[in-house]
């Protein structure tokens, strides 16, 4: 293959630059490219919060993509990890009192962002591990997708129905943002500050994800995606890798959920609903499944579309649905895939490929794309 992968540090510098510039691309920012967005946020906190939202969902999508994009297994329930990752810090920060089976559980409000993160990761780790041990040996393919979708509903209904603990449908409000050591107590109350905080966390998580995906472990995931039977006969304990991939991919939504709770300072059961699971699938699909930057691009485009269309059209989820249909049928390699195509076939030829069956048949981009992760 002619095009070589960029050196790791170039990718990470590019990511860092993207994190710094991202707010400017949001609706109202000076680099806003979306003609539909208008100037609804004439430079106030709104678009910065939207940029923070993009980062939160970029982490969420990054986790999802580690599973579907890299190891080839479609989890249609990843919002459960986002939800647990959001509720654990929310409950810890806000405190709770519940009686369950004669036990009186009680926790006072505590504001410690670090412990909240540990709790988010801890609970997600536990649930993801137990779930993976249950479903990985017993399912694969679309069966796996259906089962993950169903188990996500368990988390959704628990958060929805256990009002005593979770506040039910209304969720939990008034969650204080954490206090960072050495900074004023309300430093993070400022949108820009919170964006900076999120960007730093996101950078660490993105770098970790990059590391995992490019490690020998990541190669094994690619092997599983391409040919699970072959991997097994080479001596890989396939199910152990599948469990590990599942658990690792759950940790990124957990971090996203942790940030989401603080960004919104409120949380409700929707965070674990099928809509959120679907959204993150869409972001990956939009950006490019199996590519590293794809899900992050997807998160940005998703929120850009959502934010511009949703304000003007009540039935905007239909537009999102249409995006699914169009991308699945015509551009399963997503936006990142389109860039790869431009690079490989030239712009004109890439467009021709979209409309000409012959041009497409020569090489199917969707199928070829994952291969770019390989190479010596």
């Amino acid at each position: 293959m002619k095009s070589r992968r960029a050196a790791p540090w170039i990718t990470l510098v590019a990511i860092a630059a993207g994190l710094i510039l991202l707010p400017l691309f949001m609706p109202g920012g000076s680099l806003d490219l979306n003609p539909l967005s208008g100037n609804r946020f004439p430079f106030h906190a709104g678009f910065i919060d939207l940029a923070t939202t993009v980062l939160v969902f970029a982490l969420f999508a990054l986790g999802f993509n580690m599973l579907f994009g890299h190891s080839g297994e479609l989890s249609f329930g990843h919002a459960m990890f986002f939800s647990i990752g959001a509720y654990a810090p929310a409950l810890y920060t806000k405190g709770f009192k519940v009686d369950i089976a004669g036990l009186h559980l009680h926790h006072d409000a505590t504001n410690n962002g670090f412990i909240a993160l540990v709790l988010a990761l801890g609970f997600v780790l536990l649930w993801a591990f137990l779930l993976a041990r249950l479903i990985v040996p017993r399912s694969s393919g679309i069966y796996y997708s259906m089962i993950t979708m169903a188990f996500a509903q368990v988390i959704y209904f628990i958060t929805f129905r256990w009002s005593e603990l979770t506040g039910g449908e209304d969720g939990i409000q008034g969650i204080a943002r954490p206090v960072l050591p050495g900074l004023p107590a309300n430093w993070l109350a400022n949108s820009t500050h919170f964006y900076i905080f999120t960007a730093v966390v996101a950078f660490v998580a993105i770098a970790a994800n990059y590391w995992i995906v490019r490690s020998p472990f990541g190669s094994v995931l690619h092997a599983l995606r391409e040919n699970r039977q072959r991997a097994r006969f080479l001596g890989y304990d396939v199910n152990r890798y599948r469990v590990n991939a599942f658990v690792l991919s759950a940790l990124f939504p957990a971090v996203g959920g942790w940030l989401w709770t603080y960004l919104q300072q409120a949380i409700n059961p929707d965070a674990g609903g099928i809509d959120y699971s679907g959204r993150v699938v869409m972001m990956s699909l939009l950006g490019g499944i199996g590519t590293f930057v794809g899900p992050m691009i997807g998160a940005f485009v998703y929120w850009d579309i959502q934010n511009s269309v949703a304000q003007q059209w009540k039935y905007w989820p239909a537009a999102l649905g249409a995006v699914f249909v169009v991308f699945v049928l015509a551009a399963p390699a997503g936006i990142a895939g389109a860039f790869v195509a431009f690079q490989r076939y030239g712009f004109a030829n890439s467009i021709r490929r979209l409309f000409s069956r012959e041009a497409r048949l020569e090489t199917d981009l969707a199928e070829e794309l994952p291969a770019r992760e390989g190479g010596p």
Binding site: G72, Y143, S145, M146, A150, Q153, A322, V325, A366
Partner: protein, 300 residues
């Protein structure tokens, strides 16, 4: 005396919930069997199946005042069935050479579109089905127990009839034989000169027909709202997983178990009603990974 009345009350509650569960179970069976036929025979997962169910309900609601009860049921199912065939031949067919996950993604997207169309046309709020014909709207009384005719008798009878029809279609007709052979060895069937794409479209139509019919049958009993689509599709998945992917009897047993047990849960712990199906699913996965009637290795 008071004690007796109380226990009779409990008995009535249990009986009511049981029969509510049977009603629910019948609808689960129809929807799940439709999904299962498509899944088992074609290896395609249709997330929009729940939307077809919902559309069936709205169709019946819209048609009933104009054409009457019986034609509205039949037409609603037929329209959804035909729509399913159109859907398969335009949107699903290009995906057969890709991994099946892509059909899940596509049909998830279309489900979003269908739900918004329904909101646009019929509004966000629940609509109520017009009155049933007199002979279906009453109740049968046995002692002090009351059984609503439509819900406890008519719906059950219709479901049993449909199930018998599907069973005969799949097991006793040429079409059924071709379909079953085609899923095992599409090449061979093609060599025999049978047009597999047409067969697949037909199968998809039958599956969609059942979802539409279930929706139409549900219309007089449940509130008709756009979110029926997403509520039902996930429960349908659970029924299919519990019963076994691709299994005729699995859909029936799974539908009844989940319908009845989740209704009875109403008496024990109302907040846990929605969780019932998922708990059953978890337990089934532990002891019988492929579901009660599942076939090992069907979807490896």
């Amino acid at each position: 005396m008071g004690h007796l009345a109380e226990s009779a009350g409990v008995l009535h509650n249990v009986s009511d919930q049981f029969f509510n569960g049977v009603t629910l179970g019948m609808l689960y069976i129809l929807v799940a069997l439709g999904l299962n036929i498509i899944l088992g025979l074609m290896g395609v997962i249709n997330f929009s199946h729940g939307a077809f169910f919902m559309l069936g309900a709205y169709m019946a609601f819209t048609l009933a005042p104009h054409v009457g009860f019986w034609p509205s049921m039949f037409l609603a199912a037929l329209i959804i069935g035909a729509f399913g065939m159109l859907f398969e031949s335009t949107l699903i067919r290009p995906l057969y050479r890709r991994i099946p996950e892509y059909t899940l993604l596509l049909t998830y997207g279309t489900a979003m579109i269908f739900e918004q169309i329904v909101r646009r046309v019929w509004g966000d709020d629940a609509v109520r089905y017009p009155n049933l014909p007199n002979y279906l709207s009453g109740s049968i009384e046995l002692g002090s127990f009351q059984f609503p005719i439509y819900k406890d008798v008519f719906l059950v009878l219709i479901t049993v009839l449909i199930l018998a029809g599907v069973w005969l279609l799949v097991n006793k007709t040429n079409i059924g034989m071709i379909i079953r052979a085609g899923t095992r060895d599409a090449e061979m069937v093609k060599i025999l000169g049978i047009n597999m794409p047409v067969m697949f479209t037909l199968v998809f139509g039958i599956g969609s027909f059942m979802a539409g019919l279930a929706g139409a049958l549900a219309a007089p009993v449940y509130a008709i709202i756009p979110s029926l689509a997403s509520q039902w599709i996930i429960l349908t998945f659970v029924v299919v997983i519990v019963g076994g992917i691709g299994s005729f009897w699995g859909a029936i047993v799974g539908g009844l178990i989940i319908g009845i047990l989740s209704s009875l849960m109403e008496l024990i712990s109302p907040p846990a009603v929605e969780l019932t199906g998922f708990i059953i699913m978890g337990l089934i996965l532990l002891v019988r990974p492929r579901g009660i009637f599942g076939v090992e290795g069907l979807f490896e």
